[in-house]
């Protein structure tokens, strides 16, 4: 996308037309005390040659480590064609265009995206995407509170096994709207949502139950039981799922007797690179009956006056440009470019390709767990079934292990000590289809060395290391 700077003369002309002396003057209405002034510590700019060198050096510092971290963002193979096509000029924008119907290609792509997502999730409708998984869940919670008119409580049950960042984001977005998030603990042996703890809420007035699949520990929840429990208690069920896992697991539309009511999640596994944490995109699907409470844009297929197929924004009457403060949501944009990539990714992979990728992730994780537990001092912490991620109990603090592994260019997993200190030496590890046998053998070997050096505790240098 070209950057088109203005000349000093053009700026002067524009200011003259609107009768303003300087650009600075345009900001006069912001009180001086609220303005940050000149940014500190910024240089005056670099030559292209210098900035290229700087960026290359920065990129090199990141290295190309072997990644065994999941925890919400996953290192998957992305076919080269995905971004070759997504970065074509016709698609290269982050937005649903303002003159939407003039961009039939973009609308058709979004329509295809919605069709693919509803098929993958087995839901009736999908919107054209949201910002990311965590904010999509917040929108799903708000949607559930609006849609569940039988409930007056605005109470939402949220499992502690849900991604901690998702819980924090939802809390931020709904706490000032009178919505109460009630945490449901997990079973310490299975890693699944504790059904006995859930049962204590039986008969209460609840707006919705959040059901993660897989949950943050990588463990598969008993989604049929949870979805049915919600229905029996007059609560809507909100599925939070890894979209790739849905290629091999029962999708939300099949949960329980009637399926989940709303489903959402992060679309990153569908063609978005890890890229230091983003941008990714959020998806949101629901039953047809809830479509009028769905936030964001929805593209419909229609015919024009001549009977020719065309695509148009639909159900706009509740959006903020029409309904103002009473709009369904203040979300009006999405991660269009990421969705473009995801749509191309899904169409290249096909249902079989996604299923085979998901299966390879699962078998690679099994291999990783087998190799690491064969060392004798490492064991799975939970007994529940897993997808491509699981929690291991280590004989020493994960942060120490991770530091040593990182020195050998291995990102060994996600340390759960911060969010789940009660789990002790717990490490969340992931293996995608991108990790091959050699990678896993390398991880096992380095882990073995870390454990062996710890056993040689009598060594003077190790004693010094332990004291720090």
């Amino acid at each position: 996308m070209p950057f088109i700077p203005h000349t000093e003369e053009e700026l002067r002309q524009m200011l003259d037309v609107i009768g303003v002396d300087s650009i600075e003057q345009l900001f006069d209405e912001i009180p001086a005390k609220l303005r940050c002034g000149e940014l500190q510590g910024l240089g005056s700019g670099l030559w292209e040659q210098d900035i290229t060198r700087l960026m290359q050096d920065k990129a090199r510092e990141d290295g190309q480590p072997l990644c065994f971290i999941g925890a919400g963002a996953y290192d998957h193979h992305i076919p080269a064609a995905v971004w070759q096509l997504a970065s074509r000029g016709e698609y290269y924008t982050a937005y649903t265009p303002y003159q939407a119907e003039a961009s039939q290609g973009t609308l058709q792509l979004l329509y295809e995206y919605q069709s693919m997502m509803t098929e993958l999730m087995d839901m009736d409708v999908s919107n054209a995407s949201l910002y990311d998984g965590a904010s999509a869940l917040a929108e799903a919670v708000l949607m559930a509170v609006r849609a569940n008119r039988k409930s007056r409580s605005r109470h939402i049950l949220v499992p502690a096994s849900l991604h901690p960042h998702y819980r924090a984001t939802v809390r931020t977005l709904v706490k000032n709207q009178g919505i109460e998030l009630v945490e449901i603990p997990y079973d310490r042996s299975t890693g699944q949502t504790d059904l006995q703890a859930l049962a204590q809420h039986t008969g209460q007035d609840l707006a919705a139950l959040v059901v993660p699949q897989p949950n943050f520990f990588g463990v598969l929840e008993d989604v049929d039981v949870l979805t049915e429990w919600a229905r029996a208690n007059g609560a809507l069920s909100i599925a939070v799922v890894n979209p790739l896992a849905m290629a091999v697991l029962h999708p939300p539309g099949e949960w329980g007797e009637q399926g989940a009511d709303i489903c959402c999640g992060d679309g990153q596994p569908l063609g978005a690179p890890l890229s230091s944490g983003g941008p990714y995109f959020g998806f949101l699907c629901s039953k047809q009956t809830l479509v009028r409470q769905m936030p964001g844009r929805i593209i419909g297929r229609t015919v024009d006056l001549d009977g020719k197929e065309g695509f148009a924004l639909t159900l706009q009457a509740r959006e903020q440009h029409i309904r103002r403060s009473k709009a369904t949501s203040n979300i009006c944009t999405n991660q269009g470019l990421m969705v473009t990539a995801a749509t191309i990714h899904m169409s290249l992979m096909g249902a079989d390709g996604l299923a085979s990728t998901a299966s390879r992730c699962h078998s690679n994780l099994q291999l990783l767990v087998e190799k690491l537990t064969s060392l004798g001092e490492i064991e799975p912490l939970f007994s529940g079934p897993v997808f491509h991620e699981t929690v291991l109990r280590l004989p020493l603090e994960p942060r120490r292990v991770l530091r040593t592994l990182a020195a050998h260019n291995i990102l060994g997993g996600y340390d759960l000590a911060g969010h789940y200190p009660e789990l002790g030496n717990a490490l969340l590890v992931c293996a995608t289809e991108n990790r091959n046998q050699d990678d896993i053998d390398k991880y096992r070997l380095k882990m073995e060395q870390v454990l062996a050096s710890r056993r040689q505790g009598a060594c003077a240098t190790m004693a010094k290391f332990d004291r720090e």
Partner: protein
């Protein structure tokens, strides 16, 4: 000029009220309101049993171009909603005075006297149209 039946009362926010004479009223939207909205595609009905105050948002009528609130003209409890509207919202366009939205059990019957009669509502509509 839109149709404004003599036997009904009206709210300034374009709802009509029919006094059933037994402490209940039937509420819909006026011909003028349905004209302004255009083709209705959805009506969100209130919950039976809901306690409404005059001026409360009670239902939403949605056309292809706008979604508008229907306000309760008086205080009362929702005793019935028109389920026909769930599948056929367009009947309001076809016959706005035959196709009501909800019925209320009045909790403050004197409020009926504060509503507009047909003549007063007609001049309100005329003023809007001018």
């Amino acid at each position: 000029m839109s149709n404004i039946p003599e036997n009904l009362k009206y709210a300034e926010s374009h709802e009509w009220v029919h006094d059933e004479g037994d402490g209940t009223v039937t509420v819909g939207i006026s011909d003028h309101a349905q004209e302004l909205l255009g083709d209705l595609v959805f009506v969100e009905l209130p919950e039976t049993g809901a306690q409404l105050k005059a001026g409360d948002e009670s239902a939403v009528v949605e056309s292809v171009k706008a979604a508008s609130d229907v306000y309760s003209p008086v205080d009362g409890e929702v005793i019935e909603t028109n389920e026909l509207l769930a599948d056929s919202p367009e009947v309001i366009n076809e016959a706005p005075y035959d196709n009501w939205i909800f019925k209320l059990k009045l909790s403050n019957p004197v409020q009926l006297d504060e509503l507009l009669d047909a003549a007063a509502y007609a001049s309100l509509v005329k003023a809007e149209e001018d």
